[in-house]
């Protein structure tokens, strides 16, 4: 048996892990991109409120084909629906929900997360890149808890859990928990605490591909 084999889970499985950790009554914002998948796995027996930064609470799934309403879209500009009991509001109220600490959980994608919880998610810093930030900086610092959902490694195999971010920051010390395809990591005052490693991977195998030091969980 080779202890150093990585056995990553799929994006949908990461989404499932996050969805399972969300409690009834939570107000949750799912960021653009990978975090949107979490909506597909929210437990049906719990009432959870999805917030969309463009001014929706109680956001529902995508409409059936032909039923799209282009005044009813999510932050990624895709058509969605609104559930009974939902509400619409303007931008200042919507961001007051984030910035005022009323959103319980914000799930964001990321390029890098540092061991002190710094988040880099909005800009590669390349000179010809067109910078665009949207609500990422508000979500990162405003929610009660910021979760990051991302692959553990970049396409060319570099660790996205780092001692210090090299990409421009979205927020300082704002991340509470990181869900990757290898495991779940909590940001603690001493760094990345391993909460779970998937498919019985060894701590050593995951540490070997992670630039930041990991702390063994129980």
């Amino acid at each position: 048996m080779n202890d150093n084999v990585l056995k990553p889970i799929t994006r949908n499985e990461i989404a499932q892990k996050i969805a399972q950790s969300i409690e009834e009554g939570a107000y949750v914002n799912l960021g653009i991109g990978m975090p949107t998948l979490v909506a597909n796995y929210l437990p049906k027996d719990k009432e959870i409120f999805l917030h969309s930064e463009n001014g929706i609470l109680g956001m529902g799934p995508a409409p059936e084909k032909g039923q799209e309403d282009w005044d009813l879209i999510n932050a990624g500009k895709q058509p969605v629906t609104i559930l009974p009991g939902g509400a619409f509001f303007h931008q200042s109220d919507s961001f007051a929900m984030m910035r005022g600490g009323h959103i319980d959980i914000s799930v964001l994608g990321a390029f890098q997360v540092s061991q002190t919880g710094d988040l880099a998610s909005w800009h590669t810093g390349e000179p010809d890149a067109i910078p665009a930030v949207g609500g990422a900086m508000d979500l990162a610092v405003g929610a009660k808890k910021t979760f990051v959902m991302m692959e553990h490694l970049t396409k060319d195999g570099k660790s996205k859990l780092v001692e210090k971010c090299t990409y421009p920051l979205t927020g300082l010390g704002c991340v509470a928990m990181v869900f990757t395809d290898l495991g779940i990591f909590e940001i603690t005052p001493s760094g990345f605490l391993v909460k779970e490693l998937f498919n019985n991977m060894s701590f050593e195998a995951v540490q070997a591909v992670t630039q930041a030091p990991l702390i063994k969980g129980n």
Binding site: D71, I73, H90, S92, P131, V133, G134, P168
Partner: protein, 223 residues
Amino acid sequence: MINKIVDKLSDAFTGLKDGATIMIGGFGGSGIPHELIDCLVEQDAKDLVIITNNAGSGETGIAALLKARRVRKIICSYPRMADSHHFETLYRSGQIELELVPQGNLAERIRAQGAGLGGFFTQTAYGTLLAEGKETRVINGKNYVFETPLAADFALIRALKADRYGNLIYRKAGRNFGPIMAMAANTTIAQVSEIVELGEIDPEVVVTPGIFVKHVALIKDRS
């Protein structure tokens, strides 16, 4: 008798000058006052500063304004969208200035102007590129950045219904920046799909009271 409903769209733009600052409502494709933007393009005013969330896509709306080279500077949170090629071309060739603002700061800076505030401290963007050079302060042990208000000469917004006093209700997430831009501009023009008699909008559900609206333009939905 007060009647804010304009007969001719261009009448609403009286007083527009070169160099004016203009807020334009909308998020992605929702709540965009397309016909008001088309009319703005026809006005020939140039060197405009546009405050809006996205920088337009395709060939219509804000993209048309950019294509007509009327915009000196854009203040927005997310200029990069599918097919935002007019913005990208101007930006890459240095022909447009971009002030990138986190979306919550954009909204609150607009609201601050509308509410007569000189600015506010926020935790958003502290320690990032977008807070460089800005005043900071520690409040209750947390780091905050000072942000200033955003004012405008005109706001172009889209709502669902209006009465002749300019009371507005919106449609779904098309509401987005409308209510706060209406408060922040000297002259707010609201494009609506329907005009109703006074009293037909229940005072309990008015979203933007007419005090914030100067002109109302009826634009029937294209079907």
